[in-house]
């Protein structure tokens, strides 16, 4: 099997795995397992992007998707329950909307230029200039960095501000003053002194349940599956 045949074969199998994973994630009730599978999904996506020569994007996908966001999912699950509450009824309208949107998106790809087509509009506008002259103008060999940090420095500044805003939002909504108060309150009894087992502000009572009201689909207080999973 030559290199020409191998590439599409690997891409196809990655795609197949991703579709399978997506279906499995959608059907899973255990949010803990779903968070783990999300990480694997991101890793597969990173592999896909590597195959498409977008190593910088793949890098970010692997670090953010498979790394940080999995941890944040786990953190969020620690605050709520780790089992999805069964919805009262299956919404047919939701399925219709999702299918229609998917078909529309697929239809939209039909008149897009083929992948890697040198005559595609995106390859005929400013890209040739970047590829030809960026080494002389900027003096660094990685064109992606030149574009991100210099030619499109304004956009990257905006993106950095967006990231900053995300942290400000998270601190205001979840952390900040509340955490410090609860830290002081819990500090006396809950913190174990030997250092190894200290963990601020998280009571380790697995049966404690208080987040059912946060789930939009949940009408009844379905606490028992979570308890079973934790204790069994």
């Amino acid at each position: 099997m030559g290199e020409q045949a191998m590439g599409p074969a690997i891409e196809a199998s990655l795609f197949l795995l991703m579709i399978t994973l997506a279906i499995v994630i959608a059907r899973l009730r255990s949010l803990f397992a779903a968070a783990m599978l999300f990480g694997i999904f991101s890793l597969l996506a990173a592999g896909m992007q590597t195959l498409m020569d977008a190593v910088d994007v793949a890098f970010t996908e692997a670090a953010v998707g498979a790394g940080i966001s999995t941890v944040l999912f786990l953190g969020a699950l620690g605050l709520t329950t780790s089992t999805e509450t069964r919805p009262l009824q299956h919404r047919v309208s939701a399925l219709v909307v999702v299918t229609a949107t998917g078909l529309l998106l697929a239809y939209g790809t039909l008149d897009m230029p083929a992948y890697g087509d040198p005559d595609a509009p995106i390859h005929t506008h400013v890209a040739p200039h970047y590829l030809r002259d960026s080494t002389a103008e900027i003096g660094i060999p990685n064109v992606v960095t030149s574009v991100l940090a210099s030619y499109r420095g304004y956009d990257t500044f905006g993106e950095t501000t967006v990231v900053l805003t995300a942290a400000v939002g998270a601190i205001l909504l979840l952390g900040g003053i509340m955490t410090r108060e609860s830290e002081a309150a819990i500090g006396d009894d809950a913190l174990v002194q030997d250092g190894a087992a200290t963990d601020a502000g998280v009571p380790t009572d697995p049966t404690e349940e208080g987040a059912a009201s946060d789930e939009p689909v949940a009408e009844r207080d379905d606490a028992s599956p979570d308890e079973n999973e934790v204790t069994a």
């Binding site: 420095g153 950095t160 995300a166 955490t179």
Partner: protein, 162 residues
């Protein structure tokens, strides 16, 4: 957070007295973590400063650096990281990176160019100025992203179930 970590290491379901193996108390994780985390942080610095020549840059480096710090918190406990990296430092760090980025833009304005036009940073060789500007700007991105990720992690992990 700790509930989930406990679940990871939970013993067999039918054991009469369920022995909870806490992740932070397992020797293998603690030792391997001690060996691996410095290299993760070092790799993040490599990605940060080698971004001009290879794949990577400030964002990726920041995320990897934060991942190393978060791994430390997962293994040795949130308090251990909070002790070394208090929230105040994190909050200052978040702003520092963005200010560094904007500051480079302002300096290039003061030196007679447009906002974020790094070419003017070096009077003799515009390409050299560009290189310097990119290095500083990417450093700003890296600093902000690192501390933002840690701040979001603190926000999630430091909150109790109530």
């Amino acid at each position: 957070m700790s509930d989930l970590l406990d679940e990871l290491g939970e013993s067999t379901p039918d054991a009469p007295t369920p022995i909870k193996m806490r992740v932070r108390e397992t020797v293998i994780l603690r030792i391997v973590g001690k060996a691996v985390i410095p290299f993760i942080l070092l790799f993040a610095l490599y990605v940060q400063f080698h971004g001009d020549y290879g794949p990577g840059g400030g964002f990726q480096a920041g995320v990897i650096f934060a991942a190393g710090l978060i791994l430390h918190a997962l293994i040795y406990g949130l308090d251990s990281l909070r002790e070394k990296l208090p929230m105040v430092v994190v909050e200052i760090g978040i702003a520092t990176g963005a200010l560094l980025y904007g500051g480079v833009g302002l300096v290039s304005m003061l030196m007679g160019g447009e906002f974020l036009h790094y070419g003017v940073l070096d009077g003799h060789d515009p390409a050299h100025g560009q290189h310097l500007g990119i290095l500083l700007v990417e450093l700003g991105v890296g600093i902000t992203v690192t501390f933002v990720m840690v701040a979001i992690f603190y926000a999630f992990a430091g909150r109790s179930r109530q």
